[in-house]
Amino acid sequence: MIGLTHYLVLTGILFSIGLVGVMRRTNLLMLFFSTEILLNAVNIGFVAVSKFYGDLSGQMFAFFIIAVAASEVAVGLGLLILWYKRNGSVDLNSLQMMKG
């Protein structure tokens, strides 16, 4: 019988994969992809808990999180284009002007 726990474990694993993605990828685009995975992992968790309690709040959360994700992506992609036009690179390591 699949219960809440299994969904939350899925959340945990997906979240970890997302975090590894953030740490591993140097491509700036991939950074946003990883962020999306992280957000989706959280969504699954919320919706599962929502069903568990029979309370719609969790689904609301998921709904709002999608909107938040969209807005972050909008700004992030704007910056990305700006950076690419300027430096011709989507390499995270090109963002290392300030040191020390």
Binding site: Y7, I66, I81, V90
Partner: protein, 165 residues
């Protein structure tokens, strides 16, 4: 049947996510991500969240991912221009190690959760009660989201437009 579906869908979700972080080409990663998102949409359906199921497919897979792919096409980064990612496996490994405690912690917490489920209302997760809830109880966040999107809009415009100065 539900159990089988869960295992099937979560397998694809994880596979897609894993593919996303190991594939080198942005387009491949994006496609892999779509697999995850669709699998998750299926899981939403399993969880009686029919509205979210639709939103996930329409907004996430349909809009956000399309935006990503559009950007990928727009930038059209050459293979040679793609960032070199040395020591990939090392980072994968290191990242895995760092995350072990967090995962253990999560597992530990969840096994303590009761498996009892409260009986669900007949129409749980359908669009009508969801809409009613959204526009009564959750009115404030809903309005706030509109402001957030407005800010994002201004931000995107500011960054993307040409400078007149």
């Amino acid at each position: 049947m539900n159990d089988f579906l869960f295992i099937f869908l979560s397998f694809f979700a994880l596979l897609g996510a894993f593919g996303m972080i190991v594939l080198h080409q942005p387009v491949h990663s994006a496609l892999s991500l779509i697999v995850t998102l669709l699998a998750l949409a299926g899981l939403f359906a399993l969880l009686n969240a029919s509205f979210l199921f639709a939103v996930q497919i329409i907004v996430y897979a349909g809009a956000i991912l399309t935006l990503f792919i559009f950007i990928i096409m727009f930038l059209n980064v050459k293979e040679s221009n793609l960032p070199k990612e040395p020591n990939k496996t090392l980072y994968l490994f290191l990242g895995g190690i760092v995350l072990i405690p967090l995962n253990l912690l999560v597992l530990r917490a969840f096994y303590a959760m009761p498996l009892l489920r409260e009986p669900l209302a007949e129409d749980f997760g359908e669009i009508k009660p969801l809409g009613a809830e959204l526009f009564t109880k959750w009115l404030l966040p809903f309005e706030l989201i509109s402001l957030l999107l407005l800010v994002a809009l201004i931000g995107a415009v500011v960054f993307a437009r040409k400078d007149e100065v």
